[in-house]
């Protein structure tokens, strides 16, 4: 038996409860989380800044960077903050140009893995029985496959065509962890009384999963989406470093790969060339992680600095 809750008698005016909450929609909650946590808000600003620079900045950079051999590994200066690369091109401009692909691939990979994890995790938990067994077994199989090895093997037999293909592959490999978490959450939500009431009213599985259960996990899903992005970006950086990812175009991953393979670590003046993309990725990840953490604070009130 539990303790007494608020009264609200019809003929007596009950005093108002001291706390007022706001609505529970995902985006409203996320915004509230960001407003509450200063670090989260800063992370959000930084992330927005990076997105703006990477998507609008390229309109202001020259289409073709001239290759100036006199400037190879040239030093940093105010007009060239990161110096020059192995072919004498401005690193800073490349950093501005190279963020788009990284962000888009991360976003797409996270979208794919989150969608798969949520849909199948929820169905597995809600329907139980054989459906659950099948999905869990499949998850375990994918989980035990070491993705780096798989990608190395894939790279040997099949040229990963473009960054989009990379996004799809990362998305398809990234869902097992989240699926288990979603499944666990849905298991517990399934037992809530309002879900039981929905079952008694015979509202039907699609409605129950989509309107009763998932909206109560919206912050959780949002947070994991952001984390999924950071995971995808890390995986991507690693793959580029190892040379297993498609090397066409120019992005931060490719820059890191070139810096490594062209021996930039051995030169004094080439610090900017390595630091540029690495710093960019780190700042992007940090902004994502602080945002995710402030979402987590909303979910888990005990984490708040009360």
């Amino acid at each position: 038996m539990a303790s007494i809750v608020d009264a609200g008698s019809t003929n007596l005016q009950a005093p108002p409860p001291p706390e007022q909450g706001k609505e529970a929609g995902a985006f409203r909650l996320a915004l509230r989380a960001l407003m509450r946590s200063r670090t989260g808000f800063v992370g959000f600003l930084v992330f927005t800044g990076i997105v703006l620079v990477c998507f609008i900045g390229p309109f202001f950079t020259p289409d073709n960077l001239p290759s100036d051999t006199s400037k190879i590994y040239g030093p940093a200066s105010w007009s060239h903050p990161f110096g020059f690369d192995s072919e004498g091109r401005d690193v800073f401009v490349q950093v501005v140009d190279g963020g788009r692909t990284v962000i888009l691939v991360g976003f797409l990979a996270a979208a794919i893995s989150t969608t798969i994890a949520v849909v199948f995790g929820a169905l597995a938990a809600y329907l139980g029985g054989r459906v659950d067994s099948i999905i869990v077994t499949a998850t375990d199989i994918v989980l035990t496959v070491p993705s780096i090895v798989l990608l190395a093997v894939l790279a040997a037999f099949y040229r990963v065509g473009s960054a989009w293909a990379l996004a799809v592959i990362l998305g398809v490999l990234g869902w097992p962890g989240l699926l288990r978490a979603v499944r666990a959450q849905v298991f517990s939500l399934k037992e809530r009384e309002y879900v039981e009431a929905a079952r008694l009213l015979d509202l039907g599985t699609p409605r129950i999963v989509l309107r009763e259960i998932l909206p109560n996990m919206s912050s959780f899903i949002l947070m994991n989406f952001v984390i999924g992005m950071t995971n995808a970006i890390y995986a991507m950086a690693g793959l580029y470093l190892l040379g297993l990812a498609p090397m066409e175009g120019s992005n931060w991953g490719i820059m890191i790969n070139f810096a490594w393979t062209r021996g930039a670590i051995f030169f004094e003046g080439s610090l900017g060339y390595i630091l540029g993309p690495v710093l960019a990725i780190c700042i992007l990840q940090l902004s994502l992680v602080t945002m995710a953490r402030s979402f987590e604070e909303i979910l888990n009130p005990r984490l708040r600095n009360n």
Binding site: M1, A2, S3, I4, D6, A7, L12, P15, Q20, N306
Partner: protein
């Protein structure tokens, strides 16, 4: 209608509360609105008395109980008023002026509290003996381990539990009723002069409830302490109280002898509370209400 004080010639009050105001902030920022949970409460508690604070959820009775021992949560604060406590030797203490260490000494040895639903908040990995020792040590460092053991056994016997068995047990090994008895025992460890109990019977089975109510009544008769208890259940108030205070929206709207309150309630709100309680016994007197 000043039944807050007894007629002259009576002993001095153990506790005097004057114009107490307790506020809760609804958010972290200074711009967030403030809610007055207790709005100017005054009353006296005399030795050996038992006062029931009754009212619906949200009326401020629990907040008042917590405020008397300055146990308010982070967002709560005592905004104004006074709480004066009289020790057994006659000296008075301004509870609101106590510093941290004196407050810790004050708590438990002069006044103790049994919290609402606390029977579910035991530390699951500590035995009862450890928790009793911790409690003693937190408020009175002068007791030796042996003395602490003896005192713990003594209070457990007073609540009709077997010390040898209970002290060695973990909380989950005891039933809800037994845990509530342990809590009551723990509150009596340092022989306080004043006990505050917050909803002592909520979340208990009716048979266990009966046992606990009888136990509290028995303890109050035999031992020397004054009691304030908070309850939304008027029947429990009728069983245990000598005086009753009805609270509504942070204020005491009526206070008086328990029989006066139940048989001749003056305030409309008190009347409606009493009339809302169903009973199994037919020969209960009907409370007259003005048409």
């Amino acid at each position: 209608m000043d039944d807050r004080k007894q007629p002259s010639g009576a002993p001095e009050p153990v506790l005097s509360v004057r114009d107490l105001v307790v506020e809760y902030r609804t958010g972290q920022r200074p711009s967030d609105p403030v809610h007055r949970a207790v709005d100017g409460v005054s009353f006296d508690l005399y030795p050996g008395e038992s006062i029931a604070l009754i009212g619906e959820s949200g009326c401020g009775k629990t907040t008042l109980g917590l405020a008397l021992l300055r146990l308010l949560p982070r967002l709560g604060r005592i905004a104004s008023g006074s709480i004066t406590y009289r020790k057994r030797d006659g000296s008075t203490v301004d509870v609101l002026a106590l510093n941290e260490s004196r407050l810790r000494q004050f708590r438990w040895s002069e006044a103790a509290m049994v919290f609402q639903g606390a029977m579910n908040s035991f530390n699951p990995v500590l035995r009862i003996w450890d928790q009793m020792l911790d409690t003693i040590r937190a408020h009175d460092r002068s007791m030796s381990k042996k003395e602490a053991w003896e005192r713990s056994a003594e209070v457990l016997r007073e609540v009709e539990l077997e010390p040898e068995r209970v002290l060695k047990s973990y909380p989950h090994e005891l039933s809800g009723g037994m845990r509530q008895r342990v809590l009551i025992a723990m509150s009596m460890l340092l022989r306080p002069q004043m006990l505050i109990l917050d909803e002592p019977t909520t979340a208990l089975d009716i048979l266990t409830q009966r046992a606990i109510v009888d136990l509290i009544h028995d303890l109050h008769d035999r031992l020397d302490f004054a009691m304030i208890f908070v309850s939304h259940d008027l029947a429990v108030a009728a069983e245990l109280a000598t005086r009753v205070a009805t609270m509504y929206d942070g204020k005491i709207v009526e206070m008086g002898d328990v029989r006066d309150i139940f048989y001749r309630p003056q305030h409309e709100y008190t009347r409606s509370l009493i009339n809302a309680v169903p009973t199994v016994t037919e020969d209960r007197k009907e409370v007259p209400s003005h048409g």
